[in-house]
Each structure stands twice: as structure tokens, then as C-alpha cells.
Symmetry: D2
Subunit: 297 residues, 4 copies
């Protein structure tokens, strides 16, 4: 299958490379010339923008963009994909954006006969490189079935979440809970240690009790508890605090539109924001435990 | 081993029964005559108070009391256990209280030569009856080893958490995180459903993602997601909101004494308090999702 | 001065009437025909949209619209004001919107030679009718001086807040603090009364102490404390909970864009949202005390 | 009137001096010898403890102690005031403690025929020296009338709050609202400035709008807005963050006992706790704005 790939950043570039490795013909575009050059060297064909990509003979276009404003411009602009793409070409947007915009773009695509799914990912740049991403996909059964084989070249876990926009809903709900759990884990670990417990013993007990969660048993924020966690390497790598902030911003914005309260979700957003203001936005989000303990600093 | 058991409430009575079933001679006391009568019928020997129990020929006394004030009175009062017990008799307090009081009582016991552990439990009345409780035990290695065989008659998972008071620390830290996670799970489920997702699909996705936690995969608060969860039987049974409130009160109090911030822990306490004020204190704590959705009501 | 007035809702209509009463020639437009008819009856000249209004011989156009999306459409659309207005015509937007959009529109106006201020109001529909509104005005000294006399026909307190957008900043900051203070006042009153104090005595003491604030001494949320407050007439009239929610949404959104934490501001937004979900969005925002007390219900 | 004064700390010592200056015979005690020596030099008669003070021929005993535990010991201990004082001697406890303990002690005093009021103060060490404190008094009308003339020697504003304990309730409710308002003021000021407003202009606008409060118009947390505020002298002097933390601890504890939610009160407590953990517990509580802005640091 001939595929177009638009958006070759830290996530998009390795994803596109995995499609090349899987044998697909690839047409690519990014505003950054060096990103395009790097893919071209690996065998992809550059084009000079969304209009040109839409006009090439691709069967599927995958996009991986920073935010909803870019998605709107690339899909809905005059020189964008929908205004220039042939009927029947499939579209998959892997950007993490708000469900509302995702549904608006998908509806526009549907009106002119282009199957479209929203397919945000989790797994980070490591997962993008290894081809082990999780894709949360919103769209019809038929569109999901058609696009799934391509997503499987880039990920290991391809989940159908329901109709258009539901991929974004699943991601936003999961990541809001993750953001809350991590702060909860940080508070529980910091409290336990300050009251005299050994951090590893405490993590072990909670891991087999009702407080069990990914933020305790897989990504513990306390230094030295888990060798593989960012906490044990100075909170480098991993999922940056400012990226978590972006996702919590999407969650609270979606909640506002749905007139749905999210008391802890909003509190978590503000706590990460306060932490980021202190200069730590580039650290892994589990570093938020620094707000709770001098020892972990 | 001859054992004394003091405190025969909803938890204490079935725990004492399991010790009887295991063949121990049991001396019992409770302020409620009917509770004592019921154990006596099953073969236990009643005494008329802590002083009498301390004066009988027991080798170990187990206590299961509602709050720290009762523990202080029973252990430290003039007619209490420590003032009247023989040197060497072992003590195990299974009450859930603050770590500070637990350490104060344990230190008093140690000074007069009585080995003591704090051993709060999780698992609820169901676990107490089935003998499948988890015991979180604080005390020396030697005392833990000596008392463990008795605890194994009442529970399945006996965890050594470190020195005196650490059983309480572990429980308080775990339950604070549980209280936070459950509200986080409620917010994520309610938000996802209000944005158009199917509750079971959403729960399934989060269960295999980074938002995974016991409150999602084992005790999901959304009705109909898990057949065995209280949410699927009108939030009856389970762990009452007012019991969660008590544990969060212990957590924030311990945090205050340790000068340790717990922003989400304190927020969770207040949210359950607001929910309890609306008349729902007797419902399982996962019913807190009612604050977030009309559908779940 | 010949004035155009666009947006004749609950606030806009009485404001426009006050300009008529002051002797101004008025050209008006609203999507609702009845609103236009009512103003026409009072002496205003209807036009059929922003383009027509921009094309008439007005010297100043005042707009009063529900949200930023409407402001964008009316000012920046192809058939909107800026595309069709003559150079030099002054513009005053009295809508409450985010500072970012206000500045974007003001900059576009400035580029084509139209003096513009943002001038959101406080004082409610009562103040609009009585002509006693407060206007918080953002724009240059010269533009403020030029437009001020017209605003004085509609309000009593005309405050210059600095450059373009600062009117919106002042309103958003004030109303966020108001939203927080009201909940704080509700918690303090409910706590004091539940601990045995008389509500009027408590309000009197706080009114002369360091907890003093408008939400205690002028708009007390406890029923019966102040005869003139909405609390003493079933929380009818006043400033609706859903309007406070809109303003807190603007505040947290502006904070997000400025990367500025607002922990209590975000908490307040969520508390009003939870209250609104329980069916009280139409009540005065001081009714939020119902979350804290059965007696006040 | 012959008066006993027990507790000669930063607040008690200048209060006692004002009673001396007003011509009262004064008997004094404190655990710190230097504090006693200083008062003795000024004309007071030292005694060696509560028992001795109760046994001297005083007509009124005033106490000013750090916390409820000291009040319990001084009043209820075997060597304490109640066990040794003659019937009819009046008692006034000016300590800031929880209402529950205040009522328990007052009830014990009443049972043995000693009139007692709780009379916590506000106004700080400056007010104590100048004799301009506010006293919030709980007790019967008769006891209030009898003790008021003495309190007027130490303060300017003597407020009767109702029956026993209500002085503490008023203080706890006022200070909880103050703690919330100050953080709200800090968030509003920091947000407004980060969005481009001048701090003085913003403070001026809010001071005449619905966000008006003592924390804005009298004690503004932004440096340079009010010359007399701690913010304009590096947050020295004033009311320390750790003292605000103590009062918020009393408020949330009282709320817990009353089963009353205080969502923002608890959030405020945690925010000051986080700020204190960063090493700022000794700064005036308005320094909490440092959590919200680099400029204010």
C-alpha cells in the first residue's frame, strides 16, 4: 500500500521509518527540511506540502501533528488534505488532540467520501522506534478493519474504541487518570517514607494491595525503587511533565465542554503546572514527587 | 496457644471465630454482651474486661478496636492491659489507628517486657469471615516471627512492614492512594462515558494502559462494568464511604504531624465528606461516582 | 455621536436603551428580530447585519456578544465589521471573552486604523438597566479618553486598565477571586454554623476581621444574613452559577496559555461545575453553599 | 482587680505588661525563667506553677498557651488550675485551640463554679504590644460582661460570639477564610500580572469590585502594591506561614469532627504546607505568592 506520512517529529519520524521497513512506498512531508531529508535518505519520496501529498497517488495518509490547530490547518485549510484529496483515500490522524476537533474533521472527511480514523498513541518515542506503540482508534468497524494492518506495522496493541473521536476520548481519560495516579503515588510514597517506612518495602506492599496502580508497580516515582523507572535515572527520558500538562489541558477542556466535573483531574493539572513553573517541565512527570519530599530532590 | 481477643465487632468477631476453629483456647471480651455471648456459644471463655483478660493465663492478646482513643484506654488505662499483664505476654493490635499512637503504645509495652506488633488488616468483613485478610505488621523481626503463625489463622497475606507503627503507616499510605485512585477512576469513567464511550470498552482499555489501577480493573465504580463490584449491586456491601473517610482522616492527620503535604489526599477526603453529607456515607466508597454522573445514580 | 450597537441580549438591550435616552442616534442589529423590534420602537434604526452596520455612517460601534467565537465572527469574518468599516470609526467590545482573542481583534483593528477598546462590564442586568455598570477598559490612553464619554452613559465606574486586552484581564482576575471567595465564604459560614454559631453574628465578626470580603459583607451566601442578598430570596436573580462557570473557564484557560498555576481557581471551577451538574446552574452562584449544608438547602 | 497571667510568650508577655500598665496587680508564671524575670522587673509577682497561681488571691486568671495539649494540662491536670482554684475565680483562656477542647474545659470550670470564657485574639504581636488586639469571646452574657473590662486593657475590639467555645469557632472560621482569600488573591494578582497588567492598577480595580477582600486591599501579597504590607519588606514580620498552617489545621480538624466538608479550606492548608516544606514556613503567609510567580520571588 502506498502511504503518505505528514509530520516527522520525535514520534512521526520513527513511525514513518517503521512503515518503510515494512515495505510500504512512502510519500512524506514536514515543515522541517532536515526531518524530510532524513526520511528521504531512508527511501521515502518528499513532497512540498499537504496539497501535493493529497494530489499524489497514495491510498492512505497518516498524520502526526503537535496540536489541534495544526490538524485543522492540515485537514481543513484551502491548501489542505480534504480540499485536494481524491475520494476514497483513507486518512488516519495519530495526533493527540481534543475529541471535539477530531469529530469535526472526521465528519468533514466522511461527507466527501474519505474514510477516516483518529488513532492517538501511547508508548512514547521508545515505543515509536521499537514499533510497540498502543493505538487507540476511533472510527467505524469497516474503517478500523481497513487501516489496522498499517497500524500494526507501527504498534503492538491496536484497540478499537468506538466511533469517530473515541480514540481521543480513551487517551484523554486514560492519561487524566494516569496524571492523578502518579501524584497520588507520589503523595503515598513520600508520606510513607517520611513516617519511617522503607520505600521499596512500601512499594511492594501497595503493589499487592488495593492502592496498586501502574504508577506504583511499573513507574514508581521514588528514586531507587524500580531500576527501570525514570526516578532511578534522575527523571530523564520518559514522559515529560509538559507533555502530561498538555494532555491534562485536553482533559479539562473536554470536561468543560461536556459540562462534566473533574475535581482531581483539574487539581492534578494545576499541580504539574506549579511544578513546571519551578523549572522542571522537561523532567519526566514522575518527578512531581519533588514537590513532596526533599529526599527525592 | 492460649489467646485473648478483645473487640468483637463486625471484624473482630469473625476473626476470633477463625482462631477458635483453628483449635486455640480463646478468652474474649467486648462491651456488647451479645457479641460476647455469641463467641461463648462457639466455645470461647468470657472475661469482664481488659484487666481480667490481662490477668488470665493467655500467651497472646489480640485487640480489634474502632479508634485510637479506645486503643489508648484499653492498653494504657489503669484498668487496662499493660498495667495488669504479665511480662512476656505478646500483644497484637489489629485496629486501624494513627502510627503515632501505635508507636507510643508499642514503646510502653516494650518498656515493660511485652512484645507487641501493630497489625491492621485489609479485606473487609468478607475477608475476616473467610480468613483471607491481609495483615500489615509493624514490629521487630522476632516479634513478627512469633506472632505470624496466629495471624495466618485469620489471614492469607501476612506482610512485615518494618518496626513498630509501620503496619499503620503502610495501611494509611495504601488507603490514601486507594481513596485518590477511586475518585480518579470515577472521573475518568464519567468523563469518557459523557464524551460518548462505552463504559466496558473504556474500562478494558485503561486496564491495559498506564491508567491501570485496582479501582479500574477490580473494583470499577461504573455500574455494569464488573459483575462482582459493588457498583453492579447498588453500591451495597463493600467498603463504606464513612470508613474510607476515617482512613483519609488518619492519613491527613499523620501528614500534618509529619509536616508533609498531601494535596490530592486532602482533596479526596473532602470529596468523600461532601458525598457523605448528601446522605451516602453508608454506600460503598465507589459510589462517589454519583457526584460525577446522573446516569450512575 | 452616531453609534452602532450590535448584540441586544439581556445586557445589550438595556445598555443600548440608555444610549438612546442620552440622545444618541442609534443603529442596531441582533440575530433575534424581537430584540431589534423592541429597540426600533424606542427610536433606533435597524440594519441587517455587521456589514450593513459597518457601512452606515456611525462614528462608534459597540458590541455585546456571548463568547469569543461570536466576537471573532462579527469582527474578523468576511461579512464582519473590520472588513467593511471605514478608517477611523471607533470600536468598543463589551463582551466578556479571553484576553488573547481581545488582543488579536484589537491588533487587527489597529492595523487598519480603527481605534478599539475592550470594555467588559460588571454589575449584571440590574446595573445595565440602571446605567450603573462598571466598565473595565483596555486600550490606549487616547482611545480610552475618546470612548469614555459614551461608556459613562451606560455606567458609573469607568476604569482604565492599561493596553488592549487588559479590560478582559482585570475582569477575569477579579471574577476568579470572586468565585474563590464565595466558596471560601460558604465554607466558613457553614462550618461556623455547624459548630454552633449564629450566622448573623459570625458574618458580623468576619466583616470586621481579616476574613472580610465582598462575599461576606455584601453578598453573604447564608440565608437570612443580608436581606438584599440572593441567599435571602431563594438564590433567584443575581449572577447565575453557569455565568460564574463561564468566567472561571476563561480564567483557567488564560492561565493555561500563560503557563500560570491557579490551584484554587481551578478547584472553584470544578466545585461550581459539580453544583451545576446537580441541577442548580440557574441559581445565583452563592447557592453553592448548598453543597456544604443541609440547612441552607 | 488582682489578676494571674499564665503563659508569657511573644503574645502573652506584652499582653501582661498592658495589664500592669493599667494598674492591675499581676501574678505571673511561665516555664521560661527569663520571661518571668522580665515581667517581675516590671512589677509582677512570680509564682512557681499553675497550682500556686490558683492558690494565690487572684480574682481572674488569664492564660495564653501554644496549643490544646497545654490548655488541657494547665486547666485539667492534677497540679492544674481547676483542681486548685477557689470557687468564683474567673478564668479567661486566650489561646487559639479547637472549639471542642475549649468547650470541654469550660464545662469543667462551670461544674465547679468558676466562670470561664474562651477569648482567642487576632492582631499579632504588634497588636499585643499596642493593646489593639481583637478578642473573640465565647461564654455567657454575664461572664462576658464581667471579664470585658480587663480584655479592654489589652485590646480595642472585644466581640461576644455566643456561648462557650464560640470565640474559637469565630477565629477558626475567620482564619480559614483568610487563608483561602490570601491564596485566591495571590493567584489573581499573579495571573493578572503574567497577562500583562500593572500590579497596582489591578489591586486598585479589584479593591472596588466584587473580588474585594482584606488580602487585596489591606495586605496585598504582591511586592510594591502596598507599602505597609509584608510583601513590601521581604515578607518579614506579619503572620507566619507556619502559624497560618496551625490555624488551618484547627479548622480542618474541627470540620472533620463536625462532618462538614471544607474543600478549599483543606486545599489551602495543603498549599501552605507545600510552601512551608520548601523552607518558607517562617515568612509571612502572604509569601505563598512565591509558588505562583518567579517575579515575586
Amino acid at each position: 500500500m502506498k502511504i503518505g506520512f505528514l509530520g516527522l517529529g520525535n514520534m512521526g519520524a520513527p513511525m514513518a521509518l517503521n512503515l518503510l521497513k515494512a515495505g510500504h512506498q512512502l510519500t512524506v512531508f514536514d515543515l522541517a527540511d532536515t526531518a524530510v531529508a532524513s526520511l528521504a535518505e531512508a527511501g521515502a519520496t518528499p513532497v512540498d506540502g499537504p496539497r501535493a501529498m493529497a494530489g499524489s497517488d497514495v491510498e492512505l495518509i497518516v498524520t502526526m501533528l503537535p496540536a489541534a490547530a495544526h490538524v485543522r490547518a492540515v485537514y481543513l485549510g484551502e491548501a489542505g488534505l480534504l480540499a485536494n484529496v481524491g475520494k476514497g483515500v483513507m486518512l488516519a490522524d495519530c495526533s493527540t488532540i481534543d475529541p471535539h476537533t477530531a469529530r469535526e474533521v472526521a465528519a468533514a472527511a466522511a461527507r466527501q467520501g474519505n474514510p477516516m480514523v483518529d488513532a492517538p498513541v501511547s508508548g512514547g518515542t521508545g515505543g515509536a522506534q521499537a514499533g510497540t506503540l498502543t493505538f487507540m482508534v476511533g472510527g467505524s468497524e469497516a474503517d478500523f478493519a481497513a487501516i489496522r494492518p498499517v497500524l500494526e506495522k507501527m504498534g503492538r496493541n491496536i484497540v478499537h474504541c468506538g466511533g469517530a473521536g473515541n480514540g481521543q476520548v480513551a487517551k484523554v481519560a486514560n492519561n487524566m487518570l494516569l496524571g492523578i495516579s502518579m501524584i497520588g503515588a507520589a503523595e503515598a510514597m513520600a508520606l510513607g517514607v517520611s513516617l519511617g517506612m522503607d520505600a521499596k518495602v512500601l512499594a511492594g506492599i501497595i503493589s499487592t494491595s488495593s492502592g496498586r496502580c501502574w504508577s506504583i508497580d511499573t513507574y514508581n516515582p521514588y528514586p531507587g525503587v524500580l531500576d527501570a523507572a525514570p526516578a532511578s535515572r534522575g527523571y530523564t527520558g520518559g514522559f515529560g511533565t509538559d507533555l502530561m500538562l498538555k494532555d491534562l489541558g485536553l482533559a479539562t477542556e473536554a470536561a468543560k465542554m461536556a459540562r462534566q466535573p473533574v475535581l482531581l483531574g483539574a487539581a492534578a493539572q494545576q499541580i504539574y503546572q506549579a511544578f513546571s513553573m519551578q523549572g522542571h517541565g522537561g523532567l519526566d512527570f514522575s518527578a512531581v514527587i519533588k514537590l513532596y519530599t526533599k529526599a527525592a530532590g
